[in-house]
Symmetry: none
């Protein structure tokens, strides 16, 4: 593996986990710890991370005016959202949940579409602000800082008054028995409200979310109209889901 690739691997892992451990990286990359240390030192010199005893930490620059959102597996997500674009038409009212898949979706919405979009995700609202033909309503509430979304009773209240054509809902986990499930209780409640206010429910997620489970239920699989993954709709891994009669893109 090329050194430059190692550096991107390290930075990627760092962004995902906030820290990296020298010994782990040596195993991951199948290299001596010496080399890993040299890599870390080099990246430290370039101010891309902060080397500490035992590994390295993510640098958080307080000075920059840029807000960065890290998107993992971006190519897969691009494949997903391009398929989902076919669901959009002029004059629809849409609710979008948070999550990076939906953020990629926001990036791909064509400029000419005239839509009304409700969202409670800050990055998605920022992204959609670039589109002149979108009527954009940001749903306010208490900020959940880690996910950059608002949560709580205020969000539920606003959602309950909307009548939307489609909601696009990210997924933490999905399986045939329990349907959609979430890590956080508050987010699960918000998603329930989204579903209740929408005529059609679409969930987009990467295939690694398939057949996984989280503590808080959102809805049964049957309540979803369409799911979109990066897989071919005929893929074996979707077999069980096809049998439920759900639409798969």
């Amino acid at each position: 593996m090329l050194k430059a690739q190692r550096h991107s691997y390290i930075m990627e892992k760092l962004r995902a986990e906030q820290k990296v451990v020298t010994t782990d990286l040596a195993v991951d990359l199948d290299l001596s710890e010496d080399t890993v240390r040299r890599d870390l030192n080099e990246l430290d010199r370039k101010k891309l991370l902060k080397k500490v005893y035992g590994g390295a930490l993510l640098i958080k620059e307080r000075s920059s005016n840029t807000f960065n959102v890290h998107i993992s597996a971006e190519e897969k997500k691009e494949k997903i959202v391009i398929k989902a674009l076919s669901l959009l038409h002029d004059d629809q009212v849409i609710i979008m949940s948070g999550g990076t898949t939906n953020l990629v979706f926001a990036k791909f919405i064509p400029e000419h579409l005239k839509l009304t979009i409700y969202t409670y995700s800050l990055p998605i609202a920022m992204q959609l602000s670039k589109l002149p033909n979108i009527e954009l309503i940001l749903i306010g509430g208490k900020m959940q800082k880690s996910a950059m979304v608002t949560i709580g009773i205020d969000v539920i209240q606003v959602l309950s008054k909307i009548r939307a054509d489609i909601c696009f809902i990210g997924a933490s986990s999905i399986n045939v028995k329990q349907g959609l499930t979430e890590v956080g209780y508050e987010v699960s409640v918000v998603k329930k409200a989204m579903i209740a206010s929408s005529d059609k429910v679409v969930s987009m997620f990467t295939s690694n979310k398939l057949n996984t489970k989280m503590p808080h239920g959102v809805c049964e699989l049957q309540e979803l109209d369409t799911i979109v993954t990066e897989l071919d709709p005929d893929d074996d891994r979707l077999e069980k889901y096809r049998k439920t009669g759900i639409k798969i893109l």
Copy 2:
């Protein structure tokens, strides 16, 4: 084989595998490594790939997952907000309007302060999300895309129910006779509501806003408790404002 053919072979392999290795390409193409290197350097010069030690990598345009806010006269604004930090104490409830001066302020709030902050500005909410001890409430509503703030009746309604210790209010324009004035009607209404809900009103702005006027009134000078500029409080340009009895930092 022609050079152009080699180049397309290299680019194709690069797109397929994200990287190419000089020695592998020399074998694939049955050429000396020197020639491969020359090819790679040439493609690098044309910005079609990124040459690295040992091979080359795909150039990936950092597709904008970054949201950038341009801040003019940032040094002046830093001077202002550092003075204003003295107004903050643990357990205060604060309302912040939009504007880049307030954004700089958000960047300078110390990590240890425990505050409850209401804002209707997306960039400010993003910035404040980095602070673990802040209870952050984003006020939702229709997005005004140009300013990255929410406006409208929803914002007013939320603001009217708050009882805040201080509000930090940006200024489009200020003069002794008319007080604070705004370009947009909607923003002027929101700012009136902010003021009505706060015990103390602080306005921060750069000195170029002094003695200017906009169409929509926000409040009389007397309604402000404190103004903060980058000037020395004894500066001649603030003479008229000092006479009104307003506090100047």
